[in-house]
Amino acid sequence: MAQYMKKENKYFILMLIIAAALLVGIVAENIVSVILPKTVRLNIDVEKVKQKLSQAGIVTREAKHWKKVR
């Protein structure tokens, strides 16, 4: 059947397929980001943090008004 189609129609159908694929991708990414727990991505190298602070000459001091959550 494709051999009877005009060239423009073929391109149009190709664009539709690409658009549909993109849409599916975006929806899937959103679902994954909602389902995954937010803390998963956090992994901080504390030694590196301390090193960077001392390189910048920053001296820390205990703050007021905070509590341990867990």
């Binding site: 901080i44 190298d45 504390v46 509590k67 959550v69």
Partner: protein, 324 residues
């Protein structure tokens, strides 16, 4: 994984070890919350107190003004974004512990210390300790803030703060959320709390074209001020100038500033001001009783002052503020 919660401002950041809060200057390290800016301001200036603006506090005196990097607000129009939206590693910082701030203030013959430019809430401990020492030397403490703070730290701080200018940026939650990624309700609560706890409060409302310049918004804001904290709380309307992320907007037309000034007066506010329009009548203070000119200002400069012992020189009406 241990998590601690910062309870200083309404963001209540939950932080794992090594993580910083939204303000960039408070860090969970070694199981504790640490401040990164104590004694290290990145901005130190002597300003006329009128620049804060505080028009009812020791007119024509200098305010020793300090700020550190960081902020817990993220306003699209921030005029100090070079320091407020940066961590302390990216600013040039001075070594100025609280006792030296006080010593420098006295040396410069200033009558007050202003915690300003970025939001001083995020350098709370530095401000608190400096303010305590300042009071022992009869200096006033001025907090220039957006008021986005939890009640408990604010109540602890109030006895050490004499005057505050709170930026009441708008009067809708939508505005606060879209313009500053923040909330209105805690700010209103902070204004009330300061007032109830003996802090002299003045308010600033920056009027931005198309964002918060409608007659309805301005009137609602004025009504809130009058009904909640009273008609004697000075309200400074400030003219917007394009900057930071809002360079696409024009400056606020002077007519809009005048509209706001007239609305405030018609709603019964005793002290409404027009800022960033030098030479405008709205720079000056008028007696709420006889309407006479009391303090004539052009920008930050004072040309005449007819407030004597906290009263109108002509009709003796009390003009609220800190005058001596």
């Amino acid at each position: 994984m241990k998590i601690i919660e910062c309870q200083l401002c309404k963001r209540k950041c939950n932080l794992i070890e090594g993580q910083r809060g939204d303000c960039r200057v408070r860090l969970h390290l070694d199981g504790k919350l640490q401040t990164l800016v104590y004694g290290n301001p990145c901005s130190v200036h002597i300003d006329p107190i009128e620049k804060k603006p505080l028009f009812h506090v020791l007119p024509a005196t200098g305010a020793f003004s300090i700020a550190t990097a960081g902020c817990n607000m993220h306003c699209k129009y921030c005029q100090n974004w070079q320091i407020s939206q940066r961590p302390p590693e990216e600013t040039h910082n001075y070594d100025l512990p609280p006792d030296r701030v006080v010593a420098e203030t006295l040396k410069a013959n200033c009558k007050s210390i202003a915690y300003t430019y970025s939001d001083p809430i995020i350098f709370y401990e530095y401000m608190y300790d400096t303010a305590e020492i300042a009071h022992k030397h009869n200096l006033l403490n001025l907090m220039i803030t957006a008021g986005f703070i939890e009640e408990k730290p604010l109540l602890d701080l109030c006895p050490h703060i004499d005057a505050a200018n709170v930026d009441l940026k708008g009067i809708t939650e939508e505005y606060y959320q879209k313009m500053c990624s923040s909330e209105l309700a805690p700010v209103l609560h902070a204004i009330e709390t300061m007032k109830k706890n003996g802090v002299w409060v003045e308010l600033t409302n920056l009027i931005i074209p198309t964002w918060n310049d409608s007659e309805k918004d301005i009137r609602t804001l004025c009504r809130w001020v009058k009904d909640t904290v009273g008609p004697d709380v000075p309200l400074h309307f400030s003219r917007f100038w394009p900057r930071h992320l809002l360079k696409n907007l024009p400056p606020t037309p002077v007519e809009t500033m005048e509209l706001a000034w007239n609305i405030a007066k018609s709603e019964g506010l005793h002290y409404a001001y027009v800022g960033n329009v030098p030479g405008h009548d709205g720079n000056s203070t008028f007696c709420p009783n006889d309407g006479k000119l009391l303090i004539k200002r052009i920008g930050y400069q004072i040309l005449e002052n007819h407030v004597v012992d906290g009263k109108c020189e002509f009709c003796k009406t009390e003009i609220l503020g800190i005058w001596s």
